[in-house]
């Protein structure tokens, strides 16, 4: 049960987003509720989903709804989706594969699913089903990414800029970056650049104070606007996003800078509108200029290529769902076999108890061995047959019906 960016607005999502500190208490509360056997919670900025294992679906649904509404505001049922049995399994597999994400095939969700599972384990709210389901979902996510191109290519302008830089410099480790202007897009690129390991970030802005402010935030260095040429001669990558109505970097200015660079390539990323860098700069040797349209084109191409991979990923998800379904059926068959064995064992123990008073210790031991051996022989064929039927795809309900005929399963349920 849950909602995501497709079904709920940000106002709703923010009410039900749980921080890492809150998740354990929410899990404990839900686990203690009626009808909930196992539970895990995935809470990200785009989705809040509860995965519960229950024998009493209606009771469990009520508990989850009730606890949801008690904790933060009132969850309107319109925003919630509820999936049962294999549909829920398929949903989790789609989530871990990135099919359900805002950016198709994004990688972050895999870590978030792993973290959700780990938190549920720590809160001791998982059981045999979730212990199997979540690692399975993580495996499906990895398979989708390794066997298809669902996560290939940058999916945002900032990521495209970083990817582009890697095609020129191989590695951004130790590289120097110049941020021209302190616009929002520049700031969006900062995190990615820092993650990629850039050595030095320099910020140039017409207002030095703003440059210093941004430089302080990213651990960089502010440079006066007058020293732009000097900075350009030293850096490897320039990201421009000023609000200037004219070109800030023109071809003649850059050609002088390029001579000082002695052939070192320079990547210019102009994400400002109107543009900051004269387009003819692209004609200079060792200069690679990309504007916002180029980068958006790259992103659009990548996303459309990812879209073409969806069918392949869905195929993987469907196959794995069937595998998981077989696992669940096998588990139910094992449960039926266990019930059969326990029921007969109970009868045997009862009969042994009746004769315990009238027989010697040695006779009791012999009788115990004899009855145990007899029981094993009698149950061997039925149990083997049940295992074979389960492996052949006979639904577990059929096996349960067989037990009902023997008057075992019904009794077990009545108890």
């Amino acid at each position: 049960m849950g909602f995501n960016q497709k079904t709920a607005s940000v106002e709703v999502r923010e009410r039900f987003t749980y921080s890492d500190e809150q998740v354990p208490s929410v899990l404990q509360r839900l686990h203690g509720a009626q009808g909930v056997d196992e539970i895990a919670l995935i809470s990200t900025c785009n989705r809040t989903e509860v995965y519960a294992v229950t024998q009493e679906p209606s009771l469990c649904r009520g508990s989850l709804m009730c606890l949801f509404s008690q904790s933060k505001g009132t969850a309107h049922p319109d925003f919630l989706y509820l999936e049962n049995d294999l549909r829920a399994v398929k949903h989790l597999f789609e989530v871990s594969s990135g099919l359900d994400s805002l950016v198709l095939g994004e990688n972050q969700i895999l870590g978030q699913v792993r973290q959700a599972f780990s938190m549920a384990q720590n809160a001791k709210t998982t059981g045999p089903v979730l212990e199997k389901l979540f690692p399975w979902a993580l495996r499906v996510g990895k398979m989708a990414r390794s066997q298809t191109r669902i996560c290939q290519g940058a999916a945002s302008v900032a990521a495209a800029a970083v990817e582009l830089a890697q095609m020129i410099f191989d590695d951004l480790k130790g590289r120097r970056v110049l941020l021209l202007g302190a616009g929002k897009m520049t700031q969006a690129s900062l995190g990615l650049l820092q993650n990629a390991g850039v050595q030095q970030i320099r910020v140039v802005n017409r207002t030095l104070a703003r440059a210093e402010e941004l430089a302080a935030r990213c651990g960089g260095e502010a440079t006066p606007f007058e020293d732009l040429d000097k900075a350009l001669a030293e850096v490897d990558l320039l990201i421009a996003s000023t609000g200037a109505p004219h070109f800030v970097v023109n071809k003649s200015r850059l050609s002088q800078v390029m001579y000082q660079r002695k052939g070192r390539p320079l990547l210019l990323v102009d994400i400002a509108v109107p543009r900051d860098i004269e387009p003819s700069c692209q004609d200079l040797d060792n200069v690679y200029l990309y504007n916002i349209d180029d980068l958006q084109g790259v992103v659009a191409d990548n996303l459309s290529r990812r879209q073409k991979e969806v069918q392949k990923v869905l195929q993987i998800v469907d196959n794995e769902c069937q595998e998981f379904s077989r696992y669940l059926d096998g588990r139910k068959a094992n449960q039926a076999i266990r019930i059969l064995r326990e029921s007969f064992e109970e009868v045997r123990q009862g009969e042994l108890l009746k004769h315990r008073g009238s027989l010697t210790h040695e006779e009791i031991t012999r009788l115990d061995n004899f009855s145990n051996s007899l029981l094993n022989k009698l149950l061997h064929n039925p149990m083997m047959q049940m295992k074979k039927m389960s492996a052949a795809g006979v639904p577990p309900e059929e096996l349960e019906r067989a037990l009902e005929i023997l008057g075992i399963y019904g009794k077990e349920r009545d108890d």
Partner: protein
């Protein structure tokens, strides 16, 4: 037997070239496994052919143009397999494999048709061996430069879907420089050993003059790169010019040289 092994290795090199280009340009995948297996298998056959040839001739097979071409193709792939892959420029094989295929095919069809010169001695072995090694390194450096221009063009034209299949510009630039660092000392050793051969003197032999000119072009490159710190497009252009000198000097017949 030797011709058959050479022919098979040439076929293998052609097959690996086709497999490489099919993977890179048709499937658009950086999957090198299949074609690399074919390449290395062919190189094994090539090694066996050269070994048998050496036993048959009782000397290193470097006394005629076909023999030298067969050895050059072998060294080219050996250098690529050892150094190119170590320096993470697997894509270089896309040019190295067809080049080796051309050299080996030439050797297959011409081996035995030329009368080898009767040069002998350690100086001769060192002279030719070093020069073949240096030419192979220069070939690989030039292939890096070629890839550099292809990659630079793709980045300029914003064809990123194909650009990501090749190594980065910096990697290609750096690896080309490293191959020159391998090839240039070998060139110098080869030239010095040549001067030590009996009866040698400077007579403006066309081949020797061209080799000296080639060395001078590489020296200019090394100076600009190491001392002045230049890199990028111009440096790679110098490498391509120097490679043209290599080809001309290799193919120009000399007065005192058999090939």
């Amino acid at each position: 037997m030797i011709s058959l092994l050479l022919a098979l290795s040439a076929l293998g090199y052609w097959a690996s070239s086709i497999s490489f280009h099919y993977n890179l340009f048709h499937r658009k995948q950086r999957d090198w496994t299949q074609w690399l297996r074919i390449l290395l298998g062919s190189h094994g056959l090539h090694s066996l052919a050269l070994l048998l040839l050496t036993f048959q001739l009782q000397h290193l097979p470097v006394r005629s143009m076909p023999e030298v071409m067969a050895v050059l193709g072998w060294v080219l792939i050996a250098l690529y397999a050892i150094l190119g892959r170590r320096w993470k420029v697997d894509a270089l094989g896309g040019i190295a494999a067809p080049a080796a295929a051309v050299l080996t095919t030439f050797a297959t069809f011409t081996l035995g048709h030329e009368v080898p010169r009767s040069y002998q001695g350690a100086w001769f072995g060192l002279h030719v061996g070093s020069l073949v090694g240096s030419y192979a390194a220069f070939c690989l450096a030039a292939f890096c430069s070629l890839l550099y221009f292809i990659q630079a063009r793709r980045l300029k034209e914003k064809k990123l879907q194909t650009a990501f299949l090749l190594p980065s510009l910096n990697t290609l630039d750096r690896v080309a420089f490293r191959f020159i660092l391998v090839g240039f000392p070998l060139l110098v050793v080869g030239m010095v050993c040549g001067t030590q051969m009996p009866g040698w003197k400077w007579t403006w032999d066309p081949k020797e003059t061209l080799v000296a000119l080639t060395g001078a072009v590489y020296l200019v490159y090394l100076h600009a790169r190491v001392v002045a710190g230049w890199q990028g497009r111009r440096m790679n252009m110098i490498l391509l010019i120097a490679f043209v000198c290599v080809l001309v000097s290799l193919l120009t017949p000399g007065r005192s040289h058999g090939y």
